[in-house]
Symmetry: C2
């Protein structure tokens, strides 16, 4: 995993060889299911994975977890809290927890998350949870790269006047109302009912699968088996309709495009002409009030001339 | 605003001229404060902005709102719900609500959000709220592009075993525990206390400002004036330390870099050589099990050769 995440060019070549071998093995036999666990900070995603993961081990699963570290843009360092919070899983011989830095990547996933998941699947982890940083637009990428999407919410989420928002909720194969315990239980039941009826209004995304809302409490240990049962049923349904194979091809294509975009970004920003112009700009802002928008437009023209020199057609 | 969001090259030139004029005006006099309102879906961000915005109009403010539409990656269409939910603000002559599509942009903000905010400020909206799509890693960008960051949470958020997560919470200048009404009020008070003490542990981000946690209820109308007071105090503090000017320069630089990255992405993906190779790849996946990682590596090499033909040696 360290090799896969390495930025050194020579490591990258070795990582590619390793990943190719993983893919070949998985093309022959792949018993894994990959589940994104998304939801806002504080909703209890880690506790839920920890608790359900332990039950899954009792069922005979090998559990892989990739969590995306909310690398602070302030401290520039990862907050390595996830692994230490999932102490039981991290210490189990039947589980593997990897905390992957999100880095500068915008998109709820780390640069190498998809590769780490491939490696985990190839070495026999059959139940793989991907815990994202947060919830929002960015989670569409996580949705595109995994098999099932679990949205975790709190009791009372969304039962405002305006009803339940679409967006991320539309992507959910399973909605878990966590913290359904103690004085939250009544509100949790209400929230579950509201989400369940909202889910019915959305266009179905998977053949043969209707999204389900369920109650869980990671702390009380309730509802975890129902979640695992739902994941198992979800997987069986995918296999029944031969959708898993199609899904995985879609994931590969989405990942490739995403990866290319990031590489494009990185390469253009390190081009000498672009770098020089950026430096020039930084100096100018110190001494005068320049137009940022005009400056950006100039940059776009520069990048176009670098990349599309012979596009020939009217560019002026 | 339609001009600013237009994709046509000739519109872009006119938009740049307009934005330049806006900037010139703002360099002379800019009474605006720009506040990101972030939080998970269902937490009540829109209702809060609607309710506080009405109070702000009573105080004599002109209120601008930019909401980011969670453009569904499924329907490819925007869900134009935000504007219709903020009916009072949308219909007020002292407010302007713009629902901006997030599009394919990963980062909690639309491609042109920063430009729309500049325009709103230049035409006299002095209290500008930017409502993001969700919460998570992506919100760092929203934080970088605005003056103040308000994180909205629900009663009970984060009071799990593991304590309050860092990440997004570290960025908050103000934390609002919304829905502090009815049977949620006791839990809301507890959550506020926990957040307030957590906020004390973080490294202060602003000279002279300690992040505050507060209770609000958009539906009951409570706590809204306290939020507006906090925003006003926040702004006065920025001016006192001459931090606003420095902040805005930082915003410009962050926006420029972000914008360049997106343009780089767009340009490289439309390069003929890259497009051809992508198409070739799509055909191959239909007939054989190819290695996606090897393929991606090949793409990276291709892009490098396109962009850095004399890589390592010459600088011209």
């Amino acid at each position: 995993m360290t090799l896969i995440e390495s930025e050194l060019p020579e490591d990258r070549i070795r990582a590619i060889t390793l990943l190719e071998a993983c893919e070949e093995r998985l093309y022959r036999h792949d018993p894994s299911i990959r589940i994104t666990v998304s939801g806002s900070p504080g909703v209890g995603k880690s506790s839920l994975i920890e608790a359900a993961g332990r039950n899954a081990i009792d069922r005979g699963h090998r559990v892989g977890v990739v969590t995306i570290d909310p690398t602070s843009s302030l401290s520039k360092g990862s907050i390595l809290g996830d692994k230490s919070r999932m102490t039981h899983l991290a210490n189990s011989p039947h589980a593997f927890v990897r905390s992957s830095p999100a880095g500068k990547v915008l998109g709820g996933l780390g640069r190498r998350t998809f590769e780490l998941v491939t490696l985990l699947a190839a070495v026999g982890y059959d139940l793989i949870f991907i815990e994202t940083v947060g919830v929002g637009q960015s989670e569409h990428m996580a949705w595109q790269l995994t098999d099932a999407f679990t949205l975790v919410i709190q009791p009372g989420a969304g039962d405002e006047l305006q009803g339940i928002k679409r967006g991320i909720t539309e992507l959910a194969d399973m909605v878990i109302v966590n913290k359904a315990d103690g004085d939250f239980i009544e509100r949790a039941r209400l929230t579950k009912t509201q989400y369940q009826s909202a889910l019915h209004y959305f266009t179905p995304l998977r053949k043969g699968w209707s999204p389900v809302a369920m109650l869980c409490s990671a702390t009380a240990g309730s509802g975890l088996d129902a979640w695992l049962d739902a994941i198992e049923a979800f997987r069986k349904n995918l296999l029944l309709h031969d959708e898993l194979r199609i899904l995985r091809k879609g994931q590969q294509e989405a990942w490739l495009e995403w990866n290319l975009g990031m590489e494009a970004n990185r390469l253009l920003l390190q081009h000498p002409a672009v770098k020089n112009k950026l430096q020039e700009f930084h100096q100018q802002t110190q001494t005068q009030n320049i137009s940022i928008f005009k400056m950006a437009y100039g940059f776009e023209q520069l990048m176009q001339s670098l990349l599309l020199p012979s596009s020939g057609t009217a560019e002026s």
